[in-house]
Subunit: 347 residues, 2 copies
DNA sequence: CTGAAAGCGCTAACAG
DNA sequence: CTGTTAGCGCTTTCAG
């Protein structure tokens, strides 16, 4: 070894052929040893030894090309900085753990272009399956994947008209429970800060909110004075809350449709000198590290981990050839009442 | 189209050959069109049209096999639920954004087995490069990757004796600044909760802490009464803090070597009825969504995004064949003094 | 500028 | 149980 400055130590790549030659068998036999084919123990062992000695590492590209299917699955999420999705990712990983499939994570950053690119990668790399929390209900195009027969599971957010298995939350019911609780606690001007238009989750949570209002006050026209669409991020929540507070008659409670926006909302409230439960705050999804927040926050709790786990189980079933009819699994959310919704009069 | 229940619509896969036939050219020409070779505009266009009409999507596996290098890079992180690493990931993505390379994220979960598996995948998939925040200083084996000439950049944590480019923080200096500040603020029994033994970052931050203590009190023997090793997670921080508080003479301040452990520490303090700055708390790395915490937390601020960005830039340079000598880039941390270290007497 | 042909490394028939 | 053979779909010489 005598490498001049900057040169790379690139050892000759060891192939299955090299191992075969060294072990005195055919390439096919080596392949069998590594894929559980029938091989005499003695031979198998000498192949193992030869492989180890040469430092053989199988070329997964060649293998996948030949088999027309790789052994990795992609998980596409819209915001890697949102603990809801990282927890979901953990669920997916843990489920895949017990198989020979590896999970790779792709962050679309709520950007449909990035998402499209990752979808192309998944298709081009012949991935074994894809779990996707779609950046958009309309622009996310699962068509090519589906056409090629790649198993796809939609999680959390459902692309419109996609013929895929899906796992999601009972968003509408959760939103309804949230606002119903705020009403019962005595709040009267209840705002809703929901996500971007066109995200199924935004729409459903808002729909639940409206439905609770309508049920409580059938006489009133339900208008959108207290409804804001934001971006599911901290800044969006902050801006929306500031805007609501500048109204001639500001809301006395707010249902926030996701965890990160709630953080922005809390900032805006503090800035305005307001403290729950004087103003009611209810979050769809626990704020990350909720133990840090005082007073404690009421929230609709979401089984994010189970969402991922269930999606992965469904996907694995499809990959193994399960041909059950398409299904949508809806996971239940639960309202957790804490201090922040104690009522406008204070605790 | 007449699919019986459960059957999949698997259209015949369109290859470059099909496109060639449809456009009346050779496969080579189609390839050139998609890879920027020299082709007459007229021909190029008819190829494009044929490709679009047939719904051609290049098989990236075949392409990578042939080229002996894929066009994705892997980012291996030890804890996807830690905002420090997700922010780092964003930095990597943004840097890769401007190239034709895609980033896939792999979460090793501080588990050296999972990590080894991902490293094998990266090798077997002939990935263009790997950025790794190692789960272990000793067990993380970058050897095979390096032997095959795959560019590797170590980020945040450095595997021992690995001959790779590295980007890291000035952990030692940061730890020193932290404890020096606590001393100056008047605290006297300063604890340190650091990460697991064998992580370079744990050791360095602790070394900085010790060095500050030694400098301030050359007469005292520095012992480990107030030093705890935990796991860089919330629970670990909580347990370590509880343990410290049970000492006959508990500490009056604590330097916590990462953000998540600080959350556990704050919980333990609240549980014990203690509030900063009566007990000083200084975190290495801002607690996520620090705006939620009152009193506000002093912290050593870390350029996590830039860490990722710098690592990616370095990697991209190597991938493009840059043969500069190996380098280690150290990024600067800055102490941000806030309320939680106001001194033992109170603010 | 274009086509023909070879082959990346592996696995899946098919014989033996 | 084992070897031979034929590709998977693409890029890249090498001629023309």
């Amino acid at each position: 070894m005598d490498l001049t400055h900057g040169e790379r130590a690139r050892t000759q790549v060891v192939t299955i052929q090299d191992v075969a030659r060294a072990a005195g068998v055919s390439p096919a036999t080596v392949s069998r040893v590594f894929n559980g084919g029938n091989v005499t123990p003695a031979r198998a062992q000498s192949v193992q030894q030869a492989a180890a000695a040469l430092g053989f590492a199988p070329n997964r590209l060649a293998r996948s090309l030949r088999k027309q299917r790789s052994s990795v699955i992609a998980l596409l999420i819209p915001d890697i900085e949102n603990p809801f999705f990282t927890s979901l990712a953990r669920g997916v990983e843990d489920a895949a753990q017990r198989t020979s499939l590896s999970v790779v994570l792709c962050n679309s950053d709520e950007d449909t272009d990035k998402e499209r690119r990752y979808l192309e990668v998944a298709l081009g790399e012949q991935m074994a399956g894809v779990i996707v929390a779609a950046a958009s209900q309309d622009e996310t195009d699962l068509g090519p994947l589906i056409a090629r027969g790649v198993p796809v599971v939609a999680v959390d957010r459902r692309p419109r008209d996609a013929e895929v298995d899906a796992v999601r939350l009972d968003d509408r019911h959760g939103g309804e429970a949230a606002t119903r609780h705020l009403l019962r606690a005595g709040y009267r001007r209840i705002a809703c800060i929901t996500g971007p238009q066109g995200a199924s989750t935004s729409e459903e949570r808002l729909a639940g909110h409206r439905s609770a209002l309508r049920a409580a006050r059938p006489e009133d026209a339900v208008d959108d004075t207290y409804v804001r669409h934001a971006d599911f991020r901290v800044e969006g929540g902050r801006a929306a809350m500031r805007d609501l507070l500048s109204l001639p008659e500001p809301p006395d409670a707010v249902f926030v449709a996701n965890n990160l926006m709630t953080i922005g909302v809390l900032d805006a409230l503090r800035e305005a000198g307001l403290t729950p439960p004087g103003i009611g705050v209810l979050s769809f999804g626990d704020v990350p590290w909720a133990s840090l927040v005082r007073p404690s926050l009421s929230a609709v709790e979401l089984p994010s981990y189970e969402l991922g786990r269930t999606a992965a189980d469904l996907l694995l079933q499809r990959i193994e050839g399960g041909d059950a009819p398409l299904q949508t699994v809806v996971l239940r959310t639960t309202l957790q009442v804490r201090e922040s919704t104690g009522g406008p009069a204070g605790p």
